[in-house]
Symmetry: C2
């Protein structure tokens, strides 16, 4: 089983500091929602982030990264063969658990609505048989719960390695950064190895598909 | 060089029959644009498509498929190594040519705005050095212009084949359907072979990354 964790994802509802910013008020009004229930999105709230969290305006508010990560992983051949588990860990130490049979909405705007509902209720669509559910949990605790030592962190700062050498293990966990630039916020010193598979920064969802396809090949799944 | 064509993509501006439909008028007003300059999008215009083109409501208006296809292909390692060309062919026999150094907007709404500008002007951002440009052209003529016989159509109806066997050729073209269901509209009888690499329908952008990663491996690029 391959486990992929999107870690320190830039997924959060609008922080209270920003609730009175004109761009936030406008967005909330347009969408008929309260500011506190809307996802932070740098496409719409870039100037508000820059004003209240200077230096973080090119990092925070990236639900799109989570969306593309889920569209690539949940729709993969590997996932259809029930050999993949994906988790979304956020900058605020929440973890989103995902039933592997979930069909993520293709429409970005619908995806955002779904995640907003998840932040509000902690599960969607219903509590008894949720497709997505959310818990307060640190990255370290999520990894512990997966009960394997084969935990690898993908980072430019890791040692150069070919990904194939880690893919024929029984159970393994790869941690991919869910942020557009900068470094992990979470503690990551518990991993077995930090590895760099490219010589350059790659997008989270590209890293995800590179791992998935190579896993399929090494394990002769497809 | 690997060439990927997204063919018969469901990318079009709103057909004239739909201009007076309430959902279209509302959407045009919200976006401050004329209906004829807006992309058809099943998320917003599903009922209008059903009314005027019954039976096509689950097929037409899918700019999202083009968006995810481009995000996966243009941001791939293969493309960074200058070994990939991608083309978007539409249901109305237009072809979008793409400078491989283009950074496609991550935001879906910005992507839609960009493509609307492309439909209006036939190029973006400027005529002398366009990143994207558009021509009236049939699929067959696009393929002819690539000057190779190694042209493969991916379709469930093709013969079962392992994709790897086609990837060590000098130059090859793979044609992937840019529609969510149904069959190709375009003539495709000029291809060398029609092949099925999965035993089930897969999303266009998943097919694209499966080909890209396997090409990288077979050709020892990464």
């Amino acid at each position: 089983m391959l486990h992929l964790i999107l870690a320190d994802s830039e997924l959060e509802t609008i922080p209270s500091e920003l609730w009175t910013h004109p761009s936030v008020i406008k967005d909330a009004k347009r969408r008929g929602k309260k500011a506190k229930n809307i996802l932070l999105d740098s496409t719409y709230h870039h100037s508000a982030i820059r004003k209240f969290f200077p230096g973080e305006e090119n990092r925070r508010g990236r639900p799109d990264i989570v969306h593309y990560f889920l569209l690539n992983t949940l729709e993969s051949y590997l996932n259809r063969k029930h050999l993949l588990r994906v988790y979304v860990h956020t900058r605020n130490d929440e973890v989103i658990f995902i039933n592997p049979e979930t069909r993520i909405p293709k429409s970005y705007n619908r995806f955002v609505g779904l995640i907003e509902s998840l932040f509000l209720n902690q599960y969607v669509p219903d509590k008894e048989r949720p497709l997505l559910w959310m818990k307060k949990m640190a990255l370290k605790d999520l990894v512990s719960s997966l009960k394997t030592d084969n935990v690898f962190l993908l980072t430019e700062k890791g040692k150069n390695a070919k990904i194939e050498q880690f893919l024929n293990l029984d159970d393994q966990v790869f941690i991919i950064g869910g942020f557009p630039s900068g470094d992990f916020i979470s503690r990551t010193d518990f991993v077995k190895e930090s590895i760099s598979i490219f010589n350059e920064t790659m997008l989270a969802w590209v890293v995800a598909y590179e791992i998935i396809v190579r896993y399929e090949i090494v394990n002769k799944i497809f």
